[in-house]
Symmetry: C2
DNA sequence: GCGTAATGACTACATCTGTAGTCTGAACCT
DNA sequence: AGGTTCAGACTACAGATGTAGTCATTACGC
């Protein structure tokens, strides 16, 4: 289960989560279970969507195995079946594989060159490097 | 001009370069100008494509403004109009924006946690950090 | 000069994605 | 019990993407 493409990832599926679907997942990673209406309250204004869109995306995510449903009266409560950290890790690695031949340092170099690193980032990365060397 | 999505990037277009298109761009970043046949020699076996596929992708990239053509007899020589480093930088930043709220350190943390960093990567990152602090 | 082959132009079709509309039935409310 | 509303199920459609086929023209080779 990965986003936006066609590479095999997990759970026997070849689907990825698209950008729009990801927005829905984010809402549910932040707080779940939620109903479709609640998800819409969270994302519709910000994304300019209406309920039909959210319902479609939810249904697709269920079909992809990314969400599970619990009946709650006449509606469903939606819950993620994949962890955000897993998804984020997969997407990160995919980018590194695709654009940097699997090596993280060139990615880092690009971010550094484009001033995408704050002082805080740098401090934190240094800390992580120290831990890595243990 | 960015890949796989719908966000505005440069040259007045809203198109992104898809995965398949990216493979074609990679061939031309490595060596250009090239004819369609030459590109196919480079990518067709590895990707399991045939000439019509390559020709379509080339035409789409031209339409997207990512490639330019020089007539050479009855065929074109294709040349990238965007630099690999620009594209790679854009995609890197996009991932960071999308999944990490614009902060690079969490991305780094994810890669580190998933053992995506080699000793060489670490050494190189440390070197880059030293330069950044100058 | 003639025949051939290469290649761009154009088309095809399936799938995915983005966004939304319609309908029906059952839960909900009075 | 009856009326209403909500939400899932289903549909729609456009654009993007992946992969490939067909055709016509002209460059190329002999």
């Amino acid at each position: 289960m990965t986003a936006t493409g066609g590479t095999s990832q997990s759970d026997g599926g070849t689907e990825r989560i698209s950008d729009a679907e990801y927005a829905v997942m984010e809402a549910l990673w932040k707080r779940s279970p939620q109903t479709a209406a609640e998800v819409c309250d969270t994302v519709c204004e910000e994304r300019g969507w209406t309920m039909p869109t959210v319902k479609t995306l939810l249904a697709r995510l269920v079909a992809k195995g990314a969400l599970e449903t619990q009946p709650d009266g006449r509606r469903f409560l939606y819950t993620p079946l994949i962890e955000r950290r897993a998804y984020v890790g997969t997407e990160s690695k995919r980018l590194v594989e695709r654009l940097f031949g699997g090596r993280a340092a060139p990615l880092f170099a690009h971010l550094a060159e484009n001033e995408a690193l704050t002082d805080e980032d740098i401090a934190e990365i240094e800390r992580l490097l120290r831990e890595l060397k243990k």
